[in-house]
């Protein structure tokens, strides 16, 4: 379990709203995420968690609201600018580059520092070493030359995480990291999250596996109908009547 204390606010979302046609996916949602925590975003299906993710990371333009990260306004910024600000993310249905090798998948996260590196080799020795170390860390370094589309789904999830880590993000947003993978791999992933958190990385995790959420996170935000209805330590949230109502659907 992480020992990170409640630091200053990193990601701050204020009054975020997004609707598709007549469907209000996110409605006036305001959440502050503190540095160093493992935050969990939970809620029933369709409660707007993924849309919230997509709005924060710039994949979708929100209708209203502001998003700031470490005091910097990133509202409506393109996804790559959000990534440059220090926020990495994974996708609900794991997304990798299927026809590239596992190693090249991780190398795709290297950010060129100037024209020389942009036009320089895509497999710079130092980058390759770092990528290999990350693959070793998630436990799939033996697959580095395989095409990413050929490895198993669980391995792809680990690969996706390694790819995100290559961008060296301070804050990592994971959309259902335990979705569709076997129990052994869930343990591997949760161990990684805890280790990475101990190194000072903040996590924001959307997850349906309650056992995992309760074990892993130190702050839980409950979404219902597009907005947070409760927040706090797992033990408190668990007993919140509003949460029970949202889940049991009274």
């Amino acid at each position: 379990m992480s020992t990170a204390p409640a630091h200053e606010i990193g990601l701050a979302v204020h009054g975020l709203s997004k609707s598709f046609g007549g469907v209000h996916a996110v409605v006036d949602a305001s959440v502050d995420f503190h540095h160093g925590r493992i935050n969990a975003l939970i809620g029933p299906n369709g409660s707007g968690k993924t849309t919230f993710f997509n709005c924060v990371t710039g994949m979708i333009r929100a209708d209203a609201g502001t998003v700031t990260y470490r005091g910097q306004d990133i509202t409506g910024k393109a996804p790559h600018r959000v990534a440059h600000a220090g926020i990495g993310r994974s996708f609900q249905v794991c997304r990798i580059f299927p026809r590239m090798t596992v190693l090249d998948n991780v190398l795709a996260g290297v950010r060129p520092t100037g024209l020389a590196t942009l036009l320089g080799s895509g497999r710079r020795r130092s980058d390759v070493e770092r990528a290999r170390a990350l693959l070793a860390r998630v436990g799939i370094d033996h697959l580095e030359r395989a095409e990413a589309g050929d490895i198993s789904y669980g391995q792809q999830k680990l690969l996706e995480l390694a790819g995100v880590l290559m961008t060296d993000p301070e804050t990592i947003m994971l959309d259902e990291p335990a979705g569709g993978v076997n129990p052994a791999l869930i343990d591997r992933i949760s161990t990684l999250i805890v280790e990475l958190n101990a190194e000072g990385r903040t996590f924001i995790v959307v997850e349906h596996n309650m056992e995992l959420v309760m074990r892993l996170s130190d702050h839980v935000i409950v979404f219902d109908r597009g907005a947070p209805i409760a927040a706090g330590p797992p033990s408190t949230v668990q007993k919140d009547p509003a949460v029970l109502e949202a889940y049991l659907g009274v």
């Binding site: 990371t57 996804p79 790559h80 060129p112 590196t117 036009l119 050929d150 791999l185």
Partner: protein, 365 residues
């Protein structure tokens, strides 16, 4: 032939001797092809066959130019004839109306096309997939309209005669030979540029866009800037190819310069050869270009070549969307003993890991 793109890395696996043999065969094939292309004019093929050679090389240049966008980003443009046509017309107009020397006009025209392609790319690269293809088609159609209607400047449907860069003392066979080697030179420049991008960080980003654009962006790749840059590069080279063709052929007609067929030839050639391979488009150009010229010589200018082109494109899209070279590469991959066992190996290793992990957890909790 060497597979410049992703497969090159995979072929690094497997036993070293087999890899070395495959590499050797690839290098040998490229060298043999290069020698064949260079020696061809010296075998005394006669002016007609020579002109066919120039046409095929011109197709190879156009297809390779197209493949800067198509191959790296996966954005299929059916409208690159707009750039060859513009390149050709600008060369002609610069020579005729501004007295610019031929070779300077060639480069200047390509630069102007590259500049023009910035706003065009800005509009069309904002959308993906089908919308992009529609935009590219619209681009040729609008160019055709403009160059047909604006006859004061372009000569309209009467066409435009482009002065030859070599004096009258250079006879036709000699003309063909010079342009043959000029096209070879242009093709080599393009191939080197493509190869350089392919192995660069820029190229890695572009290929990530081809695989999954949203994902690439979430990893911090400024996808729009990358796409636009490579689009402009592609327009520049395609315009050079169009301009060089105009200098050789000496006559421009809007219907042929801004023909949807020319654009679709580039796509067919590249797809057939393999858009992810360095030599794919050139190989495809050799095959399709030869077929086109054969059909023209055999059956004249009937509508039959349209049917043949349509059927061939349909077959390639349905049954070989990866192209010849990647298919060959896959065939070679199968010869290697270890490559086939990646899957089993990984499954086995994962099982081991699982056992270890379960053991660890049992201890921890």
């Amino acid at each position: 032939m060497r597979n410049a793109s992703d497969t090159a890395t995979t072929s690094a696996s497997g036993s070293p001797t087999v890899v070395r043999v495959i590499r050797g065969v690839q290098v040998l094939a490229v060298v043999a092809a290069a020698i064949g292309v260079l020696v061809f004019p010296q075998t005394g093929p006669g002016p007609f066959i020579m002109s066919v050679g120039v046409v095929i090389l011109s197709y190879a240049c156009m297809a390779t130019g197209w493949n800067f966008v198509g191959g790296f980003t996966g954005y299929i443009s059916l409208g690159h004839a707009a750039f060859t046509g513009l390149g050709g017309y600008l060369v002609g107009l610069l020579i005729l109306r501004a007295d610019v020397p031929s070779w300077i006009a060639l480069v200047l025209a390509a630069v102007i096309v590259a500049v023009l392609s910035i706003p065009i790319g800005f509009a069309s690269l904002r959308v993906r997939g089908a919308s992009f293809v529609i935009m590219s088609l619209a681009l040729v159609l609008i160019m055709l309209l403009i160059f047909q209607s604006w006859s004061d400047v372009t000569g309209g449907s009467n066409g435009l005669r482009v002065p030859r860069p070599f004096g009258p003392e250079v006879l036709r066979p000699e003309q063909h030979e010079r342009f043959y080697y000029l096209h070879v030179l242009l093709l080599v420049i393009m191939l080197v540029a493509w190869w350089a991008i392919d192995r660069s960080r820029f190229g890695a980003g572009l290929k990530a866009i081809r695989e999954d654009e949203d994902k690439a962006q979430s990893l911090g790749i400024p996808t729009f800037g990358y796409k636009l840059s490579v689009y402009v590069i592609s327009a520049f080279f395609t315009a050079l190819a169009g301009g060089l063709y105009a200098l050789w052929f000496g006559f421009l007609d809007p219907i042929f310069q801004f023909s949807i067929l020319t654009g679709s030839y580039m796509v067919l050639m590249s797809l057939l050869g393999g858009i992810r391979s360095l030599f794919g488009p050139a190989l495809g150009a050799a095959i399709v270009g030869y077929a086109i010229e054969f059909f023209k010589a055999q059956y004249g200018d009937t509508q039959f070549h349209l049917v043949a082109l349509g059927l061939l494109l349909g077959l390639v899209v349905l049954f070989m969307p990866e192209g010849i070279l990647p298919s060959l590469g896959r065939l070679l991959d199968r010869l290697r003993p270890s490559a086939t066992s990646i899957r089993e190996e990984s499954a086995e290793e994962l099982a081991n890991k699982r056992a270890v992990l379960v053991g660890d957890n049992g201890g921890a909790s």
